[in-house]
């Protein structure tokens, strides 16, 4: 028999885990309770192992779990409120980005007034496509959004290795052919086939938000958001001197709130860049779960780095080995005089499959075709 108060205690403990964003569900609590009936409750190490197994604590949560366990299963002290300390906010540069998005939203609202489609006085699409981002006006932005939305929907096809029933192409599907054959008394009238399924690529986007990228950031972010809408699996990170995972904040239809949260969440927006350190952080925290052989990793950065260039090599190599493709988009590449001599950039180049410009819409359009292959 298990003591009632241990069950309660476990439930509270699970609550504390959830407060730390360690996913523990009701079913896990039930497993945990059952596990506790099976082990020696007085043996602390055993209880810890049992709970770890039954609550499915993953490796990356292990440290937090241990810390909480130590607090909860020794002295049985009362629950303390343990929220994460808030990240310091660097508002100065972000305010600009925020403005940009408000401008965008403002224009969306006034869209009815100016009307859909061809607007007199606007740059025709062809011109718009070649216009550098830093020369954009607010109406350009709106037009760009439409172009992007159309482009982005082209994206996202790739053949999977899995075979699914198909008409008229692919390998013969014996199982289905055979069933058909029964209906015709053993005469093979038509052959059923299987072909490779269409698979959506997974995307991991890493955006540089440092000061040197400032003029490009908002357009690139709009691009990223458009991609995020059509790709089933897309993860978005921002980095400057450290890395921030943006994905949880970027759900559709919440752009206004998103910006607010970004403002408080991304430290040192428009500050310096430490690409190597940021990518190393990505590799140690997220690489294993987010990048697999189907993943395209896109890095948006000008490669101007304040960190140690050698530090970039290792994470780039790790990412390159695992990912299906690594694409580096560099807004400076649009300038014919630019050569990737920045030391960080030069160090990273051997591990980049496509090094492409990202200074205007036309260049982004090409990127989309890269994502598909």
């Amino acid at each position: 028999m298990i003591e009632h108060d241990i069950v309660t205690h476990l439930a509270r403990f699970a609550g504390a885990l959830r407060d730390r964003e360690i996913p523990v569900g009701l079913a896990d609590e039930i497993d945990g309770t059952r596990a506790l009936t099976l082990v020696d409750v007085l043996d602390r190490a055993e209880v810890r192992h049992a709970l770890c197994t039954a609550l499915k604590i993953q490796r990356r949560h292990q440290e937090q779990f241990d810390e909480l366990f130590d607090r909860w299963w020794v002295t049985r002290s009362h629950r303390t409120d343990d929220r994460h300390p808030r990240m310091p906010s660097g508002r100065s540069g972000l305010a600009r980005l925020q403005d940009a998005f408000w401008v965008q939203q403002g224009t969306v609202e006034s869209e009815g007034a100016v009307g859909e489609g061809d607007l007199p006085g606007y740059s025709p699409e062809v011109l718009l496509r070649r216009k550098p981002f830093d020369a954009y006006t607010a109406p350009d932005l709106l037009a760009m959004e439409r172009v992007l939305a159309r482009l982005a929907s082209k994206f996202a096809t790739r053949w999977s290795r899995r075979l699914v029933p198909s008409r008229g192409r692919g390998m013969m599907d014996l199982r289905r052919s055979f069933r058909r054959l029964l209906g015709t008394g053993g005469e093979l009238v038509s052959v059923a086939r299987r072909a490779r399924a269409v698979d959506q690529p997974r995307l991991v986007l890493l955006c540089d938000t440092s000061g040197s990228m400032d003029t490009h950031t908002r357009f690139l972010l709009a691009f990223v958001l458009a991609l995020k809408k059509v790709a089933r699996y897309a993860e978005v990170f921002a980095f400057n001197t450290s890395l921030t995972r943006l994905t949880p904040w970027l759900s559709a239809g919440k752009i206004g709130r998103t910006i607010d949260r970004l403002a408080s969440g991304v430290p040192d927006w428009s500050g310096g860049t430490k690409i190597g350190e940021s990518l190393a952080e990505f590799v140690s925290k997220y690489h294993n779960q987010l990048v697999d052989g189907r993943t395209v990793v896109v890095i948006l950065s000008d490669g101007l780095d304040r960190g140690e260039p050698g530090r970039l090599v290792r994470p780039m190599r790790v990412i390159h080995r695992r990912a299906r493709r690594v694409i580096w988009l560099n807004p400076l590449l649009g300038d014919p005089r630019y050569e990737p001599t920045a030391r960080g950039m030069a160090a990273a180049l051997p591990y980049v499959d496509h090094f492409a410009p990202a200074h205007n819409l036309e260049s982004l359009e090409r990127v989309i075709s890269l994502l598909r292959t």
């Binding site: 190490a45 075979l163 053993g186 779960q289």
Partner: protein, 299 residues
């Protein structure tokens, strides 16, 4: 520690597996709670071995499903033996049987090729151990299908009807974490993360698996490995590499480590060109020195 868990640990040791407390606890709980056990960890830490040992422990069959990208239900569950079916149809062509009669004959059990999942469900003599190896390599669509099989332990074959498991198999899933396993599947299992072994455990493992290696050599190897894992490597060598290396050294009639031997045999340890370059003469010398100094604490 509870007696039953200690017994599991001892039984595993008899099978040649040195299990840490958390491994024994997880195996025991999975047994008692009749839940699949999902094991994650770096390559070469002995994930698959747990399933093999479990099968030995229960004295039952190990049925293994190796996952890969593109693995589908036909390969995992069942397939009809089309060649035999076609032959049979040809033979019966002039018998004038109705399609329904034909169907009954050629969709009999003897024309069914059982693949690992179905084998595990239909086994008569006691529950087998079903090892779903490297589940992270399969597509997520397959994962969803597996989820269904693992919760119901029954399979519906349209031509035969529903087959329900006589004995619920003991299931072990392993993952190298090349991608995240879906939450639904994770929730259905108990979870174990296997770390690289501690110094003491690694010495025990070497002594156990390579009895010809002397005590001194085993300890030096283990100490060297602990030091090596502390360095920044792309492919961190696991216990499998340790054992290979120990065997190689025994073959070479070495009873202790020295820098020259290590350099000659580092192909047993490092499977990546950059790692090999990284481990230059200087690094080897430092690691060997660390391995030989008996008073340094492990890591």
């Amino acid at each position: 520690m509870r007696q039953e868990i200690r017994e599991v640990q001892q039984a595993m040791a008899r099978q040649g597996y040195i299990a840490e407390d958390e491994i024994a606890t997880a195996v025991y709980l999975a047994q008692q709670m009749r839940k699949p056990l999902l094991i994650e960890g770096d390559a070469g830490v002995g994930k698959t071995e747990v399933a093999k040992v479990l099968a030995g422990l229960l004295d039952t069959e190990l049925i293994r499903l190796q996952c890969y990208e593109g693995l589908d239900v036909n390969t995992a569950l069942y397939e009809w033996n089309y060649q035999r079916q076609l032959l049979r149809l040809k033979i019966m062509e002039r018998d004038g049987k109705s399609p329904a009669e034909l169907e009954d004959i050629i969709f009999g059990r003897e024309y069914l090729l059982e693949r690992p999942l179905l084998q595990a469900i239909t086994r008569h003599d006691g529950p087998p151990v079903l090892l779903v190896d490297e589940i992270d390599r399969a597509d997520d669509g397959f994962e969803a299908f597996l989820l269904e099989v693992l919760s119901e332990f029954q399979v519906t074959i349209p031509e035969l009807g529903t087959i329900t498991a006589e004995h619920i198999p003991r299931v072990v899933l392993t993952s190298n974490q090349s991608r995240e396993i879906g939450d639904a599947l994770r929730r259905r299992c108990l979870y174990l993360y296997i770390e690289h072994p501690t110094l003491e455990k690694e010495v025990q493992i070497i002594r156990r698996k390579v009895p010809d290696a002397g005590e001194r050599l085993a300890e030096e190897i283990a100490r060297f490995m602990q030091g090596l894992r502390g360095r920044e490597l792309y492919k961190v060598p696991g216990v499998a590499e340790t054992i290979d290396w120990a065997r190689a050294l025994v073959e070479l009639h070495r009873d202790h480590l020295d820098a020259e031997t290590v350099e000659q045999t580092r192909g047993c340890l490092l499977k990546d060109q950059h790692d090999v370059q990284e481990l230059d003469t200087e690094a080897v010398a430092a690691l060997v020195e660390h391995a030989l100094s008996t008073d340094t604490p492990a890591r």
